[in-house]
């Protein structure tokens, strides 16, 4: 058995304000030297606090107890921030959540990579090479790096530094499929070079890809721990099981038994984008039948949202035509006005689709008023009930409801307009996995019951295969390999 390199013993973190509410409740864990450990958990599980505690970066106003022992040092009281900060650089280092914010925006990367004492230029170039960056990256300013590049620079920095323990805090936040695989490769690389790695993540794929030990946290407690293979294949705890079941890759296959008789939405020879020289999609054909689910997938920046806006009549295409059951919203303004409310959008971030100043009830009422339809008096309560929404939510404002509730309220508002087709733009990407599953199942159920059509935009291929009848894939067509690094970086930052 290897000697432990990091030992956390009964770490407790309580909020000093709200009378001793435990945020982290007795977390103990050890990582042997040169191994990795993933702490996985949902938002609010306290996993990030564990990372911050080890780095001595906890925000003020928290009551902390427990001890942390790193490498051959003595056990340090977890509340002793200055002692923990004294380990920076020579013992501990971190790859932060927002890699872009880690560098001085006014200084080139090279001088910032050299630690203290200064590393030689050759060493810096070698470290950059191991993360597939050319030595010329030293000359770039931080704003010229994309998020992925900044993260690779941070990994290079961790390899250069003397730190034997590297913490990666949510390294895949906001990344899509292929880039997640890159991050996993980088973390493996870091571990194989002899560093001890503590990964904080909400992404099961990271735990699966990295292997090693896994700790599952919920509400500040460790509910399960063990080897990644075993925990992810045969979870012992009910919570881990429900979480794994919520992973779209495990959902039941979609029933394609619905009658598809007439076409609700079609597009012919559609070309669109923001830049006429480089359209995001070209000569696209698609048909959506009544009750059908069409998925649009592709990496971020591929033009998925733009395509959705073009289909909804929000942004004219460069060429080609959109047909709403035979009427082109861009050429037939009368038809567009008549059908406007039947083609609707479910937004990515439900907290922004309601204005913060009005109650939910008033905003749903606005829509009822404007549709001027004679609704049954119990129409709204019935709808709320169907969407598993409590009527009390109508008296609240958007800041006072959860993300899942906000998304269902947004769906309720759309259903009040009796739509024929919904474009759902990453409707669950801001939600935690279990809420995501519930919301997506609800959406699928409603689409099936009401005979609605759905265009589902997503970067999660496994989610889409679980739900969709048909898939359109958009690729990045506008990045050619001959471009200079600077161009690429500017372009990536413009897209994101």
């Amino acid at each position: 058995m290897n000697t432990p390199h990091l030992t956390i013993d009964s770490l407790r973190i309580a909020s000093a304000k709200s009378a001793g509410q435990m945020l982290v409740d007795g977390v103990s864990l050890t990582i042997p030297k040169g191994k990795s450990l993933c702490v996985i958990g949902e938002t609010g599980s306290g996993k990030s606090l564990v990372a911050q505690a080890v780095m001595g970066l906890l925000p003020p106003g928290l009551a902390v107890s427990g001890s942390i022992q790193i490498a051959t040092g003595t056990a340090i009281n977890a509340g002793d921030v200055s002692a923990l900060r004294g380990l920076w650089s020579h013992t501990t280092s971190i790859i932060p959540q927002e890699p872009g914010a880690a560098f001085d925006p006014l200084m080139r990367i090279g001088p910032q990579l050299g630690g203290w004492p200064q590393q030689s230029q050759a060493e810096i170039s070698a470290a950059l090479a191991t993360v597939d960056l050319p030595a010329s990256a030293k000359r770039l300013y931080p704003f010229q790096l994309s998020g992925g590049m900044a993260q690779r620079v941070l990994v290079a920095h961790a390899m250069l530094s003397d730190a034997s323990l590297v913490i990666a805090d949510e390294p895949t936040k906001g990344l899509d499929g292929p880039r997640i695989a890159q991050v996993i490769a980088l973390l493996r690389h870091l571990r194989d070079s002899g560093k001890t790695v503590l990964v904080i993540t909400h992404d099961l794929n990271v735990a699966r890809g990295l292997g090693g030990e896994v700790v599952v946290m919920r509400d500040g407690l460790i509910v399960e721990r063990g080897e990644a293979d075993q925990v992810l294949r045969e979870p012992a705890h009910a919570y881990t099981r429900s979480w794994l079941a919520a992973d779209p890759g495990h959902w039941a296959a979609c029933e394609t038994c619905l009658q598809a008789d007439d076409i609700v939405l079609a597009a012919h020879h559609l070309t669109g984008g923001h830049d006429t020289a480089q359209p995001l999609f070209r000569d696209l054909h698609l048909h959506v039948h009544k009750g059908e689910v069409l998925a649009v997938v592709g990496p971020s920046g591929a033009g998925k949202t733009t395509l959705g806006n073009v289909l909804l009549g929000l942004m004219p295409p460069m060429s080609g035509e959109v047909s709403w059951a035979g009427c082109d919203p861009y050429r037939d303004p009368n038809g567009a006005r008549r059908l406007r409310r039947r083609y609707q959008k479910l937004h990515q971030d439900p907290t922004t689709v309601f204005t913060p100043h009005r109650t939910m009830g008033a905003q749903l009422g606005d829509v009822v008023d404007v549709t001027r339809q004679a609704l049954e008096p119990d129409h709204l309560p019935a709808l709320m009930d169907r969407l598993k929404l409590s009527p009390q939510l109508l008296t609240r404002r958007v800041g006072e409801v959860s993300g899942g509730e906000a998304q269902r309220l947004a769906l309720a508002r759309l259903l009040l307009m009796n739509p024929a087709l919904l474009v759902a733009d990453e409707p669950t990407s801001r939600l935690d996995p279990i809420v995501q599953q519930q919301t997506m199942m609800l959406l699928r159920g409603i689409v099936a019951e009401d005979g609605l059509s759905l265009v589902l935009i997503s970067h999660q291929r496994n989610l889409v295969t679980a739900v969709a009848d048909e898939i359109v894939e958009l690729g990045i067509q506008n990045v050619s390999s001959a471009r200079s690094m600077l161009h690429l970086a500017v372009e990536e930052s413009a897209v994101s």
């Binding site: 909804l312 083609y343 937004h347 990515q348 689709v353 309601f354 204005t355 606005d366 404007v370 549709t371």
Partner: protein, 279 residues
């Protein structure tokens, strides 16, 4: 001065500042309302036998170089300085908001025209434009008000345009448009609340800046014309006698500082509370 700038008071001091500011403004507003009805001497009645008199029962703050009661002139000056400042800012705010919203919602040409117009006014430093207008037109209340409003509106237009453009991009506006809600509804319920939230603190600070401008113009002899009791002009008139009549001098000085202080504290407090101090 005419360019409204925030000091960026720290968050823990802002609530106290807010309360003090509201208290000061409440006292001043009361003074403005009941001041003219108080049994005071005529502010313009001269008494050349009792010039620069020390405080007495008849004239509790003494008299000026023409024997006029300082207390009476100071009290009668309040509704003028504060009233003109509030009216100027109210008009400048409305015009600025209207033009800013039109620029944000309009096409490239409307937007360009309005914003270049704002740039043109902002190309003049501080009070210069107000000074020139008031000076060329011979002083008095109307040129001064035109000058102050003219220098104030571009800031409100810029702020309204910036906030409106961000808000118009937000998903709740797109959702409202998709639902077919009217332009008026979107303006009232989606656009105005965030814009007004930004405006209210800027406008409060603007009243303070306007009081400073009015008193500066009065001091320079280009504002309200004698014998109107106006604080800046009173200070200018008493300046040669500052050594003999320090009490008389102190009264209008304190009034200016108190009223600007009230609006500054209120504005800074509102900025910290509503907008956040990350400016």
């Amino acid at each position: 001065m005419s360019a409204i700038a925030t000091l960026g008071i720290s968050n823990n001091a802002a609530p106290l500042g807010l309360r003090v500011g509201i208290a000061l403004i409440a006292v001043l507003a009361l003074l403005c309302l009941i001041g003219p009805w108080l049994p005071l001497a005529d502010p313009n009645a001269q008494d050349l036998l009792r010039t620069l008199a020390a405080p007495s029962l008849a004239h509790p703050l003494g008299t000026d170089h023409l024997g006029r009661s300082i207390l009476s002139r100071t009290v009668h000056g309040a509704p003028r300085s504060l009233g003109i400042a509030v009216i100027c800012v109210a008009i400048a705010t409305s015009v600025g908001l209207l033009l800013g919203l039109v620029a944000a919602a309009g096409n490239r040409w409307t937007d360009g025209l309005i914003m270049r117009l704002a740039d043109l006014v902002l190309a003049f430093p501080g009070l210069l434009l107000a000074l020139l207008l008031a000076g060329l037109m011979g002083g008095g209340i109307i040129p001064m008000m035109i000058g102050i409003k003219l220098t104030l509106w571009p800031q409100f237009a810029r702020m309204a345009r910036a906030t409106a453009r961000v808000t118009l991009q937000e998903a709740h506006v797109e959702a409202a448009r998709l639902a077919g809600l009217s332009q008026l509804h979107i303006l009232r319920h989606h656009l105005l609340p965030p814009v007004l939230r930004q405006t209210i603190s800027l406008a409060t600070l603007g009243v303070g800046a306007a009081i400073l401008s009015i008193s500066s113009l009065g001091f320079l002899g280009l504002g309200l014309q004698p014998p109107t009791p106006e604080w800046g002009a009173m200070i200018s008139e008493l300046l040669p006698y500052v050594a003999e009549a320090p009490v008389q001098m102190a009264a209008p000085c304190l009034m200016i500082v108190t009223s600007v202080l009230g609006f500054t504290l209120l504005g800074e407090g509102l900025t910290a509370q509503l907008v956040g101090s990350d400016t």
